[in-house]
Amino acid sequence: MTSHSFDDVPLHRLLGIHADQRGAGFVQYRIVAAPGSAGHADGALRAAVGDEAPVSTFAITTAVDIAVVEAVGTVIDRRAVSMNGTAELNLTYIDAPRGEAIVRATVLHCADRVAAVEARVTDARGATIAFGRGTYSLRPGRERS
């Protein structure tokens, strides 16, 4: 999937977040090296292997929240409920990424007031580097434009 509108959002450009896949109940993003996705020198950057520039956890954390929100947006009936904001986000990092990161968010449950979303982050090797969950608040009623 190529999404110029998503990829051109200033925050997404800053962090190197690109739309990759999107379907009913899930979205997947790629986070590539970009000025805003660089970490600090004696932390994330130390994990660099060869020429693979690592993506910082700062960029991944932002991308996971965006993915949670967008995944919920793929399943709600906007005639009946409105997006009301992330309520909770929990993210556990297992390892530092090598190269780009892939964020995939999958909706586990969606009711009229809350949605629960699972997130998983893998790196260029395919290794899981983080997992988490988001709880998203919904409000009954049509979304105001």
Binding site: L14, D42, A48, T57, T61, A96
Partner: protein, 149 residues
């Protein structure tokens, strides 16, 4: 690639602020270090077209989570002894209490424990009236000189 090292514990406020504000992430999101002390940091984010994107014209939730993470790193960095470093974030848990709609949103981080890992609590509040936007806990893996990774 040569990048500046995170300022060690005891570094001047100017050195800490300059380091973090030189990071493109902080520069572009207009995240500024306002105060540091041992085990404490206060940062502020000034809303701009990159950081806004949440409901009700609020700051993006991911940006707020990252602000909490950065604030924890700044805070925990003030507790490190010579040669110590933050290797990476281990866990971020954040609860969103209200939309962050102020022109200036403030993150205050306090170190709760520093050992092999370090834990900080972060509150994010409205810069105008101080009401709570978010409460977060962030833990980090630390690296010490000579320690096996």
């Amino acid at each position: 690639m040569s990048a500046p090292l995170v300022p060690p514990a005891g570094a001047s406020f100017d050195a800490v602020a300059a380091y973090w504000q030189a990071l493109p992430l902080c520069a572009e999101l207009d995240i500024r270090v306002e105060a540091v002390a041992r085990g404490y940091a206060r940062l502020a984010i000034h809303r701009n077209n990159r950081s806004v994107g949440g409901v009700r014209n609020s700051l993006n939730g991911g940006v707020l989570a990252t602000l909490a993470e950065v604030a924890a790193h700044v805070c925990l960095g003030t507790t490190l002894e010579a040669g110590g470093a933050i290797e990476r974030t281990q866990d971020v848990s954040i609860s969103f209490a209200s939309s962050a709609t102020a022109a200036r949103t403030v993150a205050e981080a306090h170190a709760l424990r520093v050992g092999r890992t370090a834990l900080a609590s972060v509150t994010i509040t409205d810069g105008d009236d101080g009401h709570l936007n978010c409460a977060a806990r962030v833990s980090c893996v630390l690296a010490w000189p000579g320690a096996a990774s």
